[in-house]
Amino acid sequence: MRARLAALDSTMIVWIVLLISVVVGSIITAIEGRNFFSVGNIDNVLTTMTILGLIAIGQTLVILAGSLDLSVPFVVSLSSVLAGGIMAGQTSNIVLGVVAALAVAVVFGLVNGLIVSLLHVHGFIATLGTGLVVSGYLGSNYQGSHGSAPYAFRLLDATRIGPVPVATLIMLACAGLAVLMLRRTRLGHHLYAVGGNADVARMSGLRTQVPIIAAHVICSVTAALAGLLLLARLGVGQPTVGSQGGYDLMSIAAVVLGGTLLAGGKGSIVGTIAGVGIFAVLDNVMGVMELNPFLKDVVRGIVIVVAVAVYARREIDRRPERFGSAAPAETTEVAR
């Protein structure tokens, strides 16, 4: 088993874990006299995945680049109240609201990125700080819900293509773009480089700030998108909606659950999506089981650790064994 496990890369393992949890989940659901694969239930799972998924995509990039973003919840809230306020129920203001929210997110991400890359403040502290800054702003200027989303915008949440919510498709589209970015653009390659070893990247002439800043900007933007989707869903801007979801730590957990190295330089979006999926299935099943809400947290906590443990041991690479199971490493010879 060890050996076979070792042959798989972590992304694959995450998907296997996801598969297992779906199987187990559907069994439990059946025992509860429900159908896991019914439209309503799948809808529930996908909806649960959407928001955290979007945020986790951005978080993955930030973590790959060797940083962290704890400010996402506040960006989510900020974009929801900003856009909500601007739209104020008027269909004609939708574009303006969306643009404004995203623009603010870009600027905010830029600030995060600059603090981390130029002032050399560790991402953990930098974004803890900027998060506090925004939370103070929100607390001072918004008591309770703010503005409202027009009908047309709320369709974003209400519309389904087949069984799949449009919002979920948006999330998956973003995932697709992120994958392309990582695999096929210089930015993507440099992101891995900087996260893997900033010194090496620097020696290779990369401006190491660029990937870090880019990652933070993108992360804030995905968070803002999440905020917009929540606006469409709640119908109003909600200054606490981000904190309600605990998206900061949960997104980081999802990313690591998805097989990305917390230290950066190694990981994938595909894994992250699976990580988010595992959480969603878990929540869905616990919901069907009517598990005590406090016990839910206990389970979440244990699952996070256990699931990561499943493959974390493999992250530290062992050399190919000479005597015993594994095959010897490829050898280099000189052309004669």
Binding site: Q90, Q143, R160, Q238, G245
Partner: protein, 373 residues
């Protein structure tokens, strides 16, 4: 496919954005404080102020019904006490064969989750009736409306929503009444110009915001200087806030929008060696006990916890075809120094996080169910 989304809110360009004070509501609740309630005062959770009634004859039907309960959370003692009461009430109705089962989803204080919960109930729950304790007012409105559109009875309680589609919206008189009771008490017991610290749990919850909105107004009118702060009901924060306040000026009164953590506030005065303040808390046992022990001048406003019984009983009426109040306003009267002793006695042995006016004395499992949680 497209679930149809109602346009409610299009008109509302966020007029109550930061503004939680509506004079009309203030005046109405002010009157309701002295209103006469229909029904037997021995069962306050069934009492209501005369008003529009919803005709429920179309729901009249035999047999045990399945109820679906979308709960905002049980993340504070007030809600936990109520949740226990509700479960005990459920037992009764199950024994009576009124309710077959109550499926509960807990949103853990998340709007997003609660919307998903309600939608799940609509699609998968095959519910005969919905009970919803909204997490927040505006955000839950669309989801509640979707529930209404199923044609099944919908009962909303505690925090409100911006729609009257519900068969019945159950709540005590409300936040303004709380604010008036408490503020007037402090005004009566303090001098003009006295300083008061106002401790608030969290912003954005209507039932809490209106408490402060009313109190703040009254404080201003009677020039009491009130400085308000948010505490998340964390006693450490509460004690530090009070201590710092005491250090910088002479604090005569303490006002709370929810009594959870009141004891820490009082102890701050003890530790600083200062006289006790005039103070309003809530009918949480911790406060009542400390209040009695210290003999400070105080009042325990009440946001009637027994309201957690009413929704299920409303469902019972609805399926019996009996009309129910469209807006079911329950009595809400503070506990004063005079009747404090009675409540302490009645709730003897209850944990500090228990609420005196929980109204479950006649339910099965009393008192154990509330004692060992």
């Amino acid at each position: 496919s497209t679930d149809d989304v109602s346009d409610a809110g299009d008109d509302d360009s966020g007029s109550k954005d930061t503004e939680w004070f509506v004079q009309a509501d203030f005046d109405r609740q002010n009157e309701q404080r002295s209103a006469t309630f229909e029904g037997d005062a021995a069962t306050p959770w069934l009492q209501y102020i005369d008003g529009d009634m919803t005709d429920t004859s179309k729901f009249k039907s035999e047999g045990a019904k399945k109820v679906c309960f979308a709960n905002a959370s049980i993340s504070n003692p007030w809600r936990q006490t109520g949740w226990i009461t509700m479960q005990q009430q459920l037992k009764v109705l199950q024994d009576e064969g009124v309710v077959s089962q109550m499926e509960t989803r807990d949103a853990q204080d998340s709007d997003d989750t609660q919307i998903a919960d309600i939608d799940y109930f609509i699609k998968e729950g095959n519910c005969d009736a919905f009970i919803i304790s909204p997490n927040s007012t505006a955000a839950m409105t669309p989801a509640v409306e979707r529930a209404c559109e199923t044609g099944k009875p919908v009962v909303v309680f505690d925090r409100g929503v911006d729609t009257d589609c519900a068969t019945s919206f159950i709540h005590p008189i409300g936040g303004y009444a709380w604010g008036i009771d408490t503020a007037e008490f402090l005004v009566d017991n303090l001098e003009k110009g006295d300083k008061v610290v106002a401790l608030r749990i969290l912003p954005g919850v209507d039932v809490l915001e209106t408490r402060w909105a009313a109190a703040e107004k009254i404080f201003e009118e009677n020039d009491i200087e009130a400085d308000d702060q948010f505490t998340d009901a964390d006693p450490t924060k509460i004690k530090q806030i009070i201590t710092d306040a005491i250090n910088s000026d002479d604090i005569k009164g303490v006002w709370m929008d929810a009594g959870d953590g009141a004891v820490a506030a009082i102890e701050a005065f003890e530790d600083a060696g200062k006289d006790y303040p005039v103070m309003t808390g809530e009918d949480e046992m911790s406060f009542l006990r400390k209040w009695e022990e210290t003999g400070l001048t105080g009042l325990a406003p009440v946001y009637s916890n027994f309201q957690w019984r009413t929704p299920l009983l409303a469902v019972q009426k609805i399926f019996a075809g009996e009309e129910v109040p469209t807006e079911w306003v329950l009595p809400q009267s503070p506990i004063t120094e005079d009747d404090r002793a009675d409540y302490l006695k009645a709730n003897d042995g209850m944990p500090d996080g228990h609420y005196a006016k929980f109204g479950g004395e006649d339910l099965p499992g009393f008192p154990k169910a509330w004692q060992d949680r």
